[in-house]
């Protein structure tokens, strides 16, 4: 794995507030990496430190092995797609996309135009070169922002919650397009989001942040099945805690009869059964008094509220986290 971006003990302290508290991670060339966390966890600040809009208090930012923390944004080979796209309203789509190329000044007009055309074709906006941003839809504006950054062929593309301004249907569409795009251009993407579904579906690897710290890094599967802390476990999805062991709702089996294998089981009283179309959510209170939520295939919708049922799961499906994690 060839590292293209490395953060070493990166920290940003404000008076009375540690926005980023010493995080270290590496991103490989061509990797789709997501920084996932709730609002205020420091993921946006981290992005701004990498892009160059803030200077770190301590720590290093290394791009292709070279330290860049002292460099201004216009001398770093990274490009940012802003949450509000930040398209220049007084320039056309083509002029927006060409902006960075013109600043470099080392290409002829024809070369610039050619690159702009290619970039727009990549995001499927051919034909809209002469439009102005206010004439475009939200999704189109986002694609212009992508084209504008990608045309510069940066080493890393930073995306600051790019899908959060779109409505949910568009968001799902754009997710897939973004993934395909990343595969095609082969540039490392650093994707900031608070939406765990987005992170899980798009990323090669995810880093979960909370209160300025990087809690865990790993593939989506690793994080989901082997979370290293309670926070990570609960942020990535629902968890049932049975005496210190965490089990995902879809890993719990429910039956009226006692299971054959008496390990890893408990009894519970059904509180509510919710039919969701493709599955059933069964909420129950376990023998220890814990609230559980189980996801069952839809054919199991005949459990009644008030029933006592047996719940059991495989050892492989449970994970344990350190106390206070």
């Amino acid at each position: 794995m060839e590292t293209v971006l490395e953060l070493r003990e990166l920290a940003k302290h404000y008076p009375g507030h540690r926005a980023v508290d010493g995080i270290s991670l590496s991103i490989a060339k061509g990797e789709f990496f997501s920084l996932l966390g709730p609002s205020g966890c420091g993921k946006t600040t981290t992005l701004r430190l990498i892009a160059g809009f803030e200077e770190p208090t301590t720590g290093k930012v290394l791009l292709d092995g070279r330290p860049v923390a002292k460099l201004p944004p216009y001398r770093r080979d990274v490009s940012t797609v802003f949450q509000n796209y930040a398209l220049f309203p007084h320039l056309t789509v083509a002029q927006n996309v060409a902006f960075g190329l013109e600043r470099r000044g080392n290409s002829s007009k024809e070369a610039v135009r050619g690159k702009v055309e290619k970039a727009l074709a990549l995001v499927q906006l051919t034909g809209k070169e002469a439009r102005f941003p206010h004439q475009l839809s939200g999704g189109e504006r986002q694609r212009v922002a992508l084209a504008r950054s990608l045309v510069l062929e940066p080493k890393v593309l930073l995306l600051d919650e790019p899908l959060s301004a779109l409505d949910s249907k568009l968001r799902k569409e754009m997710r897939q397009q973004l993934k395909l795009l990343q595969r095609r251009v082969g540039i490392a993407f650093l994707f900031i989001t608070h939406d765990q579904q987005e992170a899980l579906s798009l990323s090669d690897r995810i880093g979960v942040m909370h209160q300025g710290a990087l809690l865990q890094t790993g593939t989506p599967l690793e994080l989901y099945r082997q979370p290293s802390s309670r926070f990570v476990a609960e942020f990535l999805g629902d968890v049932n805690w049975f005496e210190g062991a965490g089990v995902r709702p879809e890993a719990v089996r429910v039956s009226r009869e006692a299971p054959l294998n008496p390990e890893h089981n408990t009894t519970a009283v059904v509180q509510r059964v919710t039919f969701l179309g493709n599955c059933v959510h069964l909420e129950a209170k376990s023998a220890d008094g814990a609230d559980c939520i189980v996801e069952l295939p839809q054919r199991h919708c005949d459990f009644q509220s008030g029933e006592t049922v047996h719940m059991w799961w495989h050892a492989a499906d449970e994970f344990r986290v350190p106390e206070g994690g």
Binding site: F53, P73, Y74, V78, F82, F88, H90, F99, S149
Partner: protein, 254 residues
């Protein structure tokens, strides 16, 4: 209660506009006294045939033009600087110059020029008036520009930096072009304020740099005349349209 207020508001607006409306009406009066005696454009014509008035107008235009260009450039840069970095000294100085009574600004500049002229063969003239106008109009420009910048999206500048533009390039290619309506609005405001000034101008003008307001003042002092009425109407319409244009530009692109 609401109706009472509406009636009051109506009277208030009448109060504000009546004097000017009356002037306008009587500028077409064929008689010199305040009794209507027929419609005429005679007085408007005589204004255009008055060489002194034309010269005064030219002087006013030149002075306002020069002061506007310089004040607008300086003021735009200063406004941007204050937006970027707290500069209490400059901000307070500008506010102070805005609040200063014109008579104090005027005499202090007169004293200043008198003192400076000891070191050279310079006299009061167009140049002193222009400098004086720059001094008091700068604050107006900064005010308009700052108001405009308050609604400016800073991520646009960040995007510029991100794409490879230096801070100066960001200002030149992104911020300034987007500020253009505001800059023009500030310039029009500056022009209006400069064109209309009497107090400061009268103190620092030389013999060859009489401005239009100075002439209007002299004529008003002598007494009322329909020629002054006509001239007043033209000036009011001219300045009024500048201000309306400035207002429209200010609102555009918000």
């Amino acid at each position: 209660m609401r109706r009472l207020l509406a009636v009051y508001a109506g009277i208030a607006y009448l109060f504000l506009y009546a004097p000017l409306a009356v002037l306008a009406v009587f500028s077409f009066n064929a008689s010199k006294i305040a009794v209507w005696q027929g419609f005429t454009l005679h007085w408007y014509g005589s204004v255009f045939h008055n060489p002194a008035l034309l010269e005064g107008t030219l002087n006013s235009l030149v002075i306002a033009g020069a002061a506007t260009v310089i004040s607008t450039i300086l003021g735009t840069l200063a406004g941007y600087a204050i937006w970027k970095r707290r500069m209490p000294w400059l901000t307070n100085s500008l506010y102070l110059s805005l609040l200063s009574p014109e008579i104090v600004t005027g005499v202090s500049l007169l004293a200043f020029f008198a003192w400076v002229f000891r070191f050279g063969h310079v006299q009061l003239g167009m140049h002193t008036v222009i400098l004086a106008h720059i001094s008091f109009s700068l604050a107006y420009v900064v005010l308009v520009i700052l108001a405009r910048l308050r609604t400016f999206d800073p991520t646009l500048e960040e995007a510029g930096l991100d794409l490879g533009a230096t801070e100066w390039e960001v200002f030149r290619r992104i911020t300034a072009p987007m500020l253009l309506p505001g800059i023009v609005a500030a310039a029009l405001l500056c022009f209006t304020v400069s064109f209309d000034d009497y107090v400061i101008t009268s103190l620092v003008a030389g013999v060859d740099s009489e401005t239009l307001p100075m002439m209007v003042y002299a004529m008003a002092r002598k007494g009322v005349s329909p020629e002054v009425n006509a001239l007043s109407v033209m000036i009011t319409v001219g300045l009024g349209s500048l201000i309306l244009t400035a207002g429209r530009l200010e609102r555009r692109g918000r």
